[in-house]
């Protein structure tokens, strides 16, 4: 996944504290929320520097690819946190994946089974090449004049997406009906509308693997859980 280097000015801890203490979002009678953070223990590996070999006017001269993106304070970004098995509310709005600056934005996209709108904001040839097995594998070209196209992903699956024209581009599609969230650059996440009861919460990172924890969700309340992944 691609992450641009963030200046180490933000105090990650303060932000985490705010996230933990505050509770945002509507309180529903049936469900609760699960919030928390995912941390990476150990020294974060340095991002790989890839020299851009085509379309430099759009992509830039080089790309820094951080497969394990760790922010200040040890928060692990772009990890997928979900409650497998539970049924969550449909995310609002359309699922949109954009190719901008020769990167997939967002690098990890959570969507309900259904249509995905794929945009090419770059004006150069990209192709959407998915490595899906439950859903049909897609490899469609998107030249500059095809600014938007729609693909259907009907089955729940975590799908790797790449562009063959630009080999450093890597994205993930999480097609799921379960409550799912992606950790931000501080490593924090919030799962909303989780049905009350005992649940297994799972965090998945493409490189670091999976971890599961048990949590009990009470209606209208926020349950806390945190994870620590290591290499």
């Amino acid at each position: 996944m691609h992450r641009s280097r963030i200046p180490a000015t933000l105090v990650g801890g303060l932000a985490v504290a705010v996230a933990l203490l505050g509770s945002s979002g509507p309180v529903e009678a049936q469900g609760g929320t699960i919030a928390g953070e995912v941390k990476f223990s150990g020294t974060a590996p340095a991002p790989k520097v890839v020299k851009v070999n085509k379309d430099v006017e759009v992509c830039g001269q080089e790309k820094k690819i951080a497969e394990v993106a760790v922010g200040a304070g040890g928060g692990l970004a772009n990890a997928i946190v979900s409650v497998p098995g539970a049924k969550g509310a449909k995310p609002a709005g359309k699922a949109v994946l954009d190719q901008k600056g020769c990167e997939f934005r967002p690098p990890v996209l959570v969507m309900a089974p259904g249509d995905l709108e794929i945009l090419n904001s770059d004006g150069v040839l990209h192709n959407i090449h998915t490595f899906s097995t439950a859903n049909p594998a897609v490899n469609k070209a998107q030249p500059k004049f095809k600014k938007s196209m729609t693909e259907k992903f009907a089955k729940p699956e975590v799908i790797k997406v790449q562009c063959d024209a630009h080999s450093w581009m890597l994205g993930w599609l999480v097609v799921t009906e379960a409550p799912t969230a992606v950790t931000d650059d501080k490593g924090s996440f919030k799962l909303e509308n989780v049905p009350a009861g005992k649940h297994k919460v799972e965090v998945l990172h493409p490189i670091l693997g999976k971890q599961t924890k048990e949590v009990e969700v009470k209606a209208g309340q926020e349950a806390k859980v945190s994870f620590e992944l290591k290499k």
Binding site: I128, P136, N139, A141, P143, D164
Partner: protein, 744 residues
Amino acid sequence: MRGKFLQAILVLVAAFVVFKFVIRPPMPFSLLSLYMAITLLAVLLYVSSDSDSWRAFVQPIWATLAEPGWRPLRLALGILLPVLVGYYAYSQAGATVGAPLELRAIHPAPPPTISFRGKTIDLQVTDTPVRKDAVANAQNRAKHLAAGGAVYIQNCVYCHGDNLDGGGHFAHGFNPAPANFVDPGTIAQLSEGYLFWRIAKGGPGLPKESAPWNSAMPAWEDRLTEEEIWQVIYYLYATTGQRPRVMDAGHAVLPREPAAPSVASVLAPREAAAQAADENRGKPVYEQKCALCHGASGKGDGPAAERLLPRPRDFTAGKYKIRSTLSGQPPSDEDLVRVVKAGMPGTSMPAWEKVLKDDEVRAVVAYVKAFFPGFKEAKGEAAKVPPEVKSDEKSIARGKEMFEAIECHKCHGQAGRGDPAPGSDLKDDWGHPIRPANLTKPWTFRGGPERKDLAMRLSTGLAGSPMPTFFDSVEKPEDLWHLANYVRSLGPDRPSWATFLTVRPATGDVPSDPNAKVWRDLPGANLPLVGQVIVDPRNFNPTVDMITVRAVHTPQEVVFHLTWDDPTPSDPTKGAPKPDVVALQFPRGGAGGERPYFLMGDGGKPVYLLTWRAGSGVGEATAAGIGKVTPQTGEAVQAKGEVVYEAGQYRATIRRPLKTADQADFAFPADQFFPIAFWAWDGGEGEEGAKAAVSAWYYVRLEAPASKRQFVIPPIAVLGTALLEVGLSRWAQRRRGGATQEPR
């Protein structure tokens, strides 16, 4: 009695017709002339049997020559004959020289024993160790067959082919051609001991008395154990169904191997058609024909797989390149049947059409489909390719415009030669490196070179590879056809290989610039280059598969112009680890006599090389074998040249004086055939030394400038014939005492 002359003519004509068109097989010209001469003698003897008959025979001839009434015929013949003679003289004066004959002895007598890795092997053995073991029980048979098959598919298939018919991937590049084991004239006529000798000792082990050779057959003694060689011999006989010759009739008769059960042989024809699609019927076909590459479990991991590029398909993923269904959808049954029957050009997948019957093909397709459970649920939706657009100038221009607008050139290169931007590491869905197609070589297209195939490929994409579908991604639906028409116009659907080269004479200065007009106006001779798979380290997947040669010579020097495709220019002075290199090879000892071994000669017969190396330039060298190359340095190098690289293609000129003072150099003889061979290395793929693309020996000749003979001799011949006719006719008239004094 005029009939006598006519009779004679009729007999001669009838004889000619019978000799030339009725007697089969056709007889050579020398025999035909002999028979016609005998017939003519016989006719003359017959007509001269008595003076009356003779007079009757000769009378029409006299009449033609002397009679006034026959003047029109005289005139007609008088014009026709000199014209024919003039034409014959013209064709003989400018006659081209044929290539030199190559004599070859077949099946030299083998020695009774050979030494193999220090052990003495008896070649006259009837029951080889493996065969003795195999006839004992079926398990041993299966074991030895599998082991022999693995040896074959890893080593022999490249020349001798998947179907054991001498039609391997590299077969067209070697001379003599690899043996066809299916032909009843090869292994069926030989004993297993003979085969052991040939396999162990190879081309270099052929007897000197029966030279000249230049066989590409490697000596496997260093790479295969004794058991492996006996096993692959067993595999050859078992798979082709032939039986080896046995030295002594008194020896035990070998049991005939049971043929692999074919679908048709097991069922009655009607049942066969109905049940052909049953996957279980396909299992024996798959195991005998497909498993060696595709693996017993269909994962593309058979013994051959690690040396093949592209690798054999992994059927368990359900992803197929050549389909008629939309992107992301499984192929139709017809798609798979088509690929099995037609093969995939440019890959190791052969065309099974001539080997498998229709019901066998359908059965094996059903078996292959079973490797991917997804076939049961989904049925591919056919891609609706828009209606065909004819290929014309406008369509091709639009196609070229689209080629750039949708940026095909980013992977396939500006000129379509499959040269993506440097640093691109294109991989297939299994993580193996994959090369974009060279669109100037349609004969290598996996799905066929026809325009409709191209339009279909653009519509469906090639699943499992980076090539996406452009079905919805073109400005107008017909653009798919415009693109197909443009791509198809980039190259011929079949390469036309040259058999020998003629270096034409040039007047004036020959430019060194490889892009000069004079080079573009010359027709090029295409020669195939194949992987060097004889000596280790072997090159199973060479980058360069063809070289186009043009050459001219002046009285002082010869200039060669070479063109070859290489997707990655590799120059050590610009950071590449290994350089791209090309070499022309000549025998060092002079043009005549037996040629050196085509792989850089040997100690007894070394070769001379004209080389070009990226970063170092043109050079000369001598070699006494692969790895024993001695470059010439400094003053000794008189060869010069220039090289340009453009959009995936190298163009080089290499020039050298015809004769140099250096004794080690090859002196180019005038108007005489001499051997030439070619080498190419793609530094970007780590090719160097033995890991190369190589050609067989070809013959080349420096053509002498067109002599004036062609324009001087024919008129003289015509004039001479006319004068002869006049003289003859005049003499005839005087003989007859004719009253007229007409000149003719």
